[in-house]
Symmetry: C2
Subunit: 194 residues, 2 copies
């Protein structure tokens, strides 16, 4: 694949993301996507196999980016509280920066056909399990106090996904302010002894 | 309006909610809604003015129900910590019980036409302001410690909205368990001195 083709593919994916966010997957047509990037009919299929393929690329790409960010965050320290803090920081910042991906990721799970739906759900389960494992490590080390590590992991993930809904780059709170405050919320929620 | 008409209207609204959740507002047609309740063409318009009207009824109904539940929760005590606890309890339980309303409420704001969009956003702002006011009262009374009551109110609202995404009635955690745990998370997040 040439560089020009790759750039065009990225452009098509970005247009699909914007349209899936605005209209929803069902209501978006390949013709809409083609029109958004100025590519007509059959030419579009040189770059992408189908609308479903675009959704798969967007949703697996989102989960892979989150999993990579999580792994990078927890690799930088062995302290359970600090690992959790960095994982939440990465989670919140990703959602502040990728609001459309988060929106489509939540809304369009049911639009994925198999085996992609199962594959994306497996990545989401891995991501949740990563947080749960950090929480359990902290509980075992006497640093966190929670009745249910699973509910605590859900709560922390929900905090980040909420940021994707309301965060605006030109809003009252900067990304840093939100990341710092939300990591503190997460640690408090876990009853962290810092 | 006769009782039979009212029942039919409620049935149409329930079918619209299910279709908006599954297909999205844009992709749902009045014919789909009619087919779901066994009413054809013009007869449907005896019960409902338009697809937009159904969306407006669903979204304003959701916000009015949340606002009513919030007012009822805070009316039952004057203690700031207990008021917050009861408001979070009402918020979490509503979202556990009305997952489709929460999903459509988040996803379809942009599908509302004016003046309905502004009216629904105003109700959402009122609801958020209610939580913010409870938090500020608690801070003023020396019972909560938070840098930003607004970010704390966003975080608490996001916790409840997250419940609507993952909660299942037949899941591992009962509604009670989730409500108890999440109210504790909210109080911890606020640095509550109980």
């Amino acid at each position: 694949m040439t560089t020009a083709t790759t750039a065009r593919t990225a452009e098509i994916r970005a247009a699909a993301l914007e349209l899936f966010t605005r209209l929803g997957y069902e209501a978006t047509t390949m013709a809409d996507i083609g029109a958004a990037v100025g590519v007509r009919g059959p030419s579009l299929y040189k770059h992408v196999a189908s609308k479903q393929d675009l959704l798969v690329q967007i949703m697996t790409g989102t989960m892979d980016a989150l999993l990579d960010a999580h792994r990078a965050a927890v690799a930088t320290t062995s302290d359970p509280v600090e690992r959790l803090r960095r994982a939440v920081d990465a989670h919140v910042r990703y959602h502040a920066r990728h609001r459309m991906e988060a929106f489509v990721g939540t809304r369009e799970i049911r639009s994925l056909v198999e085996p992609h739906r199962t594959a994306v759900l497996a990545r989401r389960a891995d991501y949740e399990a990563g947080f749960r494992s950090l929480i359990t490590d902290g509980v075992d080390a006497g640093r966190f106090t929670v009745a249910s590590p699973r509910l605590a992991s859900y709560a922390i993930l929900d905090l980040g996904m909420g940021v994707a809904v309301w965060f605006r780059e030109d809003g009252e709170h900067s990304e840093n302010a939100v990341a710092w405050q939300y990591t503190e919320f997460a640690l408090r929620l876990l009853g962290a002894a810092t």
